[in-house]
């Protein structure tokens, strides 16, 4: 496989031009360039581990506090999905489940899979890893859906005594999970899965 490292070339990720290894700045668009994203593995591990830790309060703490005629009801991500399913809106329950539970777990799993592949070299799995990387790159931001929905509900439903909604701790934790997974996807360089592949005997 003819890679850019073997040919001593650097790719600028902003404008897709090739440069020599020694150049530090792209002379087409002015971006700082390097052969691979700097500190890619360290940063990705860091962001992934912290987002796993924040998944715990995000799922256990309430995301919304609904006060209605003096009665207080705490709603977590799960209870929101269950309420929709009980009302018969299975479609919406499925959307919220996908955006708030499935997508973050899927993203973290793919990031861990790619990080392991940077150590254990395998071309077949690396190509699968690239396809999964492109998927999480695309769908990553949709986990913010639940946060925007809660934000809209909190802004609109403020009727003092009758009914009012306020934010819970899970909102902060969940938004951190989403932001950190987006940062992890950005810092991960999928080319690291393909580097030094030829050092293995059979790939």
């Amino acid at each position: 496989m003819n890679s850019d490292i073997k040919a001593n070339k650097t790719l600028c990720l902003h404008c897709n031009h090739l440069h020599n290894e020694s150049e530090e700045q792209c002379h087409f668009c002015g971006a700082q360039i390097s052969q691979r994203k700097p500190f890619s593995i360290t940063l990705t591990w860091g962001y992934t581990i912290i987002s796993i830790l924040f998944m715990i309060p995000a799922n256990l703490l309430p995301i919304m506090k609904i006060t209605s005629m003096g009665k207080i009801k705490y709603s977590t991500i799960y209870s929101g999905i269950v309420d929709f399913a009980n009302e018969g809106s299975y479609g919406i329950a499925a959307i919220i489940f996908t955006a708030s539970i499935f997508v973050p777990i899927f993203k973290i799993s793919v990031l861990l899979y790619m990080l392991i592949l940077t150590k254990i070299k395998s071309k077949k799995h690396a190509i699968i890893g690239v396809k999964l990387y492109k998927i999480i790159h695309l769908i990553g931001k949709w986990s913010m859906l639940d946060i925007f929905v809660v934000g809209i509900m909190i802004s609109l439903v403020q009727y003092d005594f009758f009914i009012s909604i306020s934010a819970g701790g899970a909102l902060f934790a969940f938004s951190l999970v989403v932001l950190l997974t987006i940062l992890a996807t950005q810092s991960m360089d999928p080319r690291l899965m393909f580097d030094h592949l030829e050092d293995k005997e059979d790939y």
């Binding site: 859906l145 509900m153 934010a167 902060f172 999928p190």
Partner: protein
Amino acid sequence: MAEILNNPKKRQFFERRKAVQRNTSCQYCGTLITMQSIDGEHQYACPECHSTIYRPGQRFRYVIAMALASLLLIIPTMLLPMYSLVIFGDKRELTLIEMGLYFFGNGFDFIAFIVLITGIILPILSQLLLIIMLTDFIWFHKIERVAPLYLFYSSIKEWKLIEVYLISVFIAVLKLESMGIFTFDFGVVTFTLSVLCYYIATVWFNPQDIWHSRELRE
């Protein structure tokens, strides 16, 4: 050599112009690639990981038109209410900015900041940048003026969440419907159209065409 994917639609941008050859490498697997002729008729894919390397973008004037339409439609979206909710005779109306601003002063400044920046400010800024950058390029053809603007545009690419905001507006409706008398206002229509135009402008714009058109002109 790159794989050539069939692209039967002829792109008018490259009519009656010379095709160029370009060397690059795949950003997903690092393979060195030669694109044989960038002529607006072919798409290229990496021979190792099969990711699309280059797909010709739309003419810049159409991208500018879409970005302009998106910006013009965001003005009534900001001013008109999105929807109104009546519970026990008390009516509340909400505009787009108010939704983002409500978090401030309630102890959730960080989330308010994120919602405002990613949902409203960055998308609007990116459309403005697109218009300024491409209009400047079409008139003056000076890469040096366009490059810093493009770099900033490329840096904020990951953080634009306006389409997520749009879908969340519709999902919030379904949660709010059961609470009281709910009505849509015209703000939702202009917001939907604005996000559609924004999305089309983003998909149509291929920044590599800036450098390809320069090579073609020289």
